[in-house]
Point group: D2
Chain length 265, copies 4
Amino acid sequence: MINIETKPISLSPELTIGGNESTLILGPCSVESYEQTRLVGKLIHKLGLKMIRGGAFKPRTSPDAFQGLGEEGLEILRAVADEFDLLVLSEALGVEQVPLLQKYADLIQIGSRNMQHFPLLWAVGEIEKPVMLKRGFMSTVEEWLAAAKHISSRGNEKIILCERGIRTFETLTRNTFDTNAIAFLKQNSPYPIFGDPSHATGRADLVIPAAQSALAAGADGLVVEVHPNPAEALSDGKQSLTLAQGEELFEQATRIATALGRKIG
Amino acid sequence: MINIETKPISLSPELTIGGNESTLILGPCSVESYEQTRLVGKLIHKLGLKMIRGGAFKPRTSPDAFQGLGEEGLEILRAVADEFDLLVLSEALGVEQVPLLQKYADLIQIGSRNMQHFPLLWAVGEIEKPVMLKRGFMSTVEEWLAAAKHISSRGNEKIILCERGIRTFETLTRNTFDTNAIAFLKQNSPYPIFGDPSHATGRADLVIPAAQSALAAGADGLVVEVHPNPAEALSDGKQSLTLAQGEELFEQATRIATALGRKIG
Amino acid sequence: MINIETKPISLSPELTIGGNESTLILGPCSVESYEQTRLVGKLIHKLGLKMIRGGAFKPRTSPDAFQGLGEEGLEILRAVADEFDLLVLSEALGVEQVPLLQKYADLIQIGSRNMQHFPLLWAVGEIEKPVMLKRGFMSTVEEWLAAAKHISSRGNEKIILCERGIRTFETLTRNTFDTNAIAFLKQNSPYPIFGDPSHATGRADLVIPAAQSALAAGADGLVVEVHPNPAEALSDGKQSLTLAQGEELFEQATRIATALGRKIG
Amino acid sequence: MINIETKPISLSPELTIGGNESTLILGPCSVESYEQTRLVGKLIHKLGLKMIRGGAFKPRTSPDAFQGLGEEGLEILRAVADEFDLLVLSEALGVEQVPLLQKYADLIQIGSRNMQHFPLLWAVGEIEKPVMLKRGFMSTVEEWLAAAKHISSRGNEKIILCERGIRTFETLTRNTFDTNAIAFLKQNSPYPIFGDPSHATGRADLVIPAAQSALAAGADGLVVEVHPNPAEALSDGKQSLTLAQGEELFEQATRIATALGRKIG
């Protein structure tokens, strides 16, 4: 029933996304300090994973909330990544930040609220680095693929899609995880498709089963928030896994991936 | 992270729902004929499964569409079930049909559109047979649990919940499969929780990955539409699996269940 | 731009719905007592209006909440209506209540949760009395018109539609009032179209402007909850107008109706 | 029931928004040519209105569609406005366009897809010119007010809100016009609140009743798409009024405004 094969994207000799391995990307919502980030980097290294994520620019719904460390956050992320031989995923919030992200990150994220910010799509369409395009939380799959086309039409075909939940009437969870969309895109798009169970649920107690469901629907990878001390996180603490839960996630994800004939990398 | 353990419900010496086995219930959307139903019953028997599903009363959005065979449909379903030593799942559409369903079925379904039809909830609350309460496609999890309480408050505690997709802005799939709700209910409700990937996707090409995602989120079972010839089905043909796809579903579900330490029964 | 003219429905020599007058139907959510109902009836009479509404059967999301007075409620409603020479609007919750409603009411309501309860649609399709079909709060206009067809196909063409808000992601108001649907149906359906600003907003402070917007979109009438003492109402108190606010509503509605060349009756 | 009074914003000696007059702003979706724009400007002048709207940058869901004339479009808009003594409303798509808009426009629009593009909110927060902040079609009223705070916290308090419809499950209309939100904001925010019935309906045949409903809910003004020849419009033709319909809109809006004790200006 597969109509379009996924085209793998190679990020390094050790990391190819969209191939035999399902990629697990862990990290804090926001980079808050070197110590915090290093603890997560150490876990990632221990698990044999290859990429760390973290936000440096975190404009929030309310202008009064913590807005991120800015370039200092990127420096911390890079330093930790280099220590543990990891790649870096981080978000560019606007056109003006693309050069900075090119300097520090290996995979540049376009966030959910920017999925249809066209000048930014065009800007990352003109660079070489791969782009992770998160789904707008109230965008259809069709609009999401059209946004990807805004990128690819400028030349950059290295696009990874990431489903992170959509807004619905249900308020028990932060969003509704559209695992149907993962299943559909796995069969009908050339781009690797990821799932983000942290934003999709907004609750740490549901992140592991949601991660499992994304992999079982066909996800090529997961992006999951992990924090050494979620209770004191400056953003998204309610949905962050502890380091121990991060390990448990790795084990459970490995079981599901194995059942599907893949590995977690 | 589990707050409430699932209470298993025994339907026969061979079939306990909500225990170590994940239950796979197959069958046509509507019972159309003895031959059609028997072919599905034969497959179920071959796979070692224990229950068949089928609709006898099928009022549809449009009054011009096929409305089901009525009691004749229940007779066919029972005859096929008896031949292959299966149990029967079928829907009661209104209070007035409860006696009929008690006569022919082993598990009585309350459909999505009736989740808040309170007189029917009260009626099945006063019988002995177990009830499968499908989620209203417009209902929150909180309302769903309140509907279950309308049943249990009349005495019947043998309730099985079934997530079948909710209505959202996304139109690529018939509904959005709320696998988060499955994960939540597995941890926070005593009732076994099922998934219905047929209605949740509305597309046969997505049923198997959606079924996998439901099991991986924690589902205690699946209800899936299978038809000997979906192209000629009188209802829901687009989302029905063929007999061969039904076998493939069984194999894939078994892999996922095994990874989770369960069996498919 | 009108494609289909509204067909007026005559309920009495004094009341024709869907004609030159916009009909204002007031009353409590639930009939709680004779005194409560009589106070509202007196206001309706004073304003020169012709119909009272009230619920006798009020099954609620939670089985622990007040469930209505049952037949006693209908008796009270009828007694008050007769005293003030009013017609009665009340809801039939299931097929089994249709005879009772035929005895006490002049206009029988099918509630939002029952919009697709087909046996009930068929039952009211076979009687003579007019029916008010409320929109399912998560049903499309197309499904709503199909539900109306389930009624009319059994013979009863005296159908009045009532938009009462739909479920969306917005939680500031109980529902989102789909005034677009009112505008569409006014131009494209033969059935008079009403608005229910009480359920559509869920907040007394927004009921009057919402009522105005419904009339301005083309509504042939309004159904509005009024209670002598909303703070002590047994159901829906937050959205009920006081008697004084009911008068203010009448005045504001009259201004808008006049601007549109209609009267409030 | 009013909790917060609207603070009027003066744009010129002739035009104050949020006061006794409801402001009607007409214009084409995209500026396509001088001739097209001049015909609309002439109508606006004839009706005694004071502002023209038009888009110069029109990135679209699909990268293959017409993307606007860019600065040339702004020049045309300004030239037509100057000829007819009108003010100009146009959209800034990104931070980099703010200087250009400051040069050509009197009121700068932030579009629905950019409601949470924070760098742009901050940029217009630091200028003198008033800003029209359209509601994100996926955003709650609470998030919308938080976005306004991102602007005002940088110093610019001259903010006008514009409800333009939200995404729901209903597909009959392009969006669902949240007239409840208009009613709420009129009572609970200091910012003038507008309605955009063109985007909210997506259908020319519903624009006039939807405009009426917005005014009746309390809107301080309307933004409506008008095109000399909608059938040949390069964008949004289906929802554009003809010049004759623009006149009819003016007449109907005047009736409703008069009933509410306001004028159309």
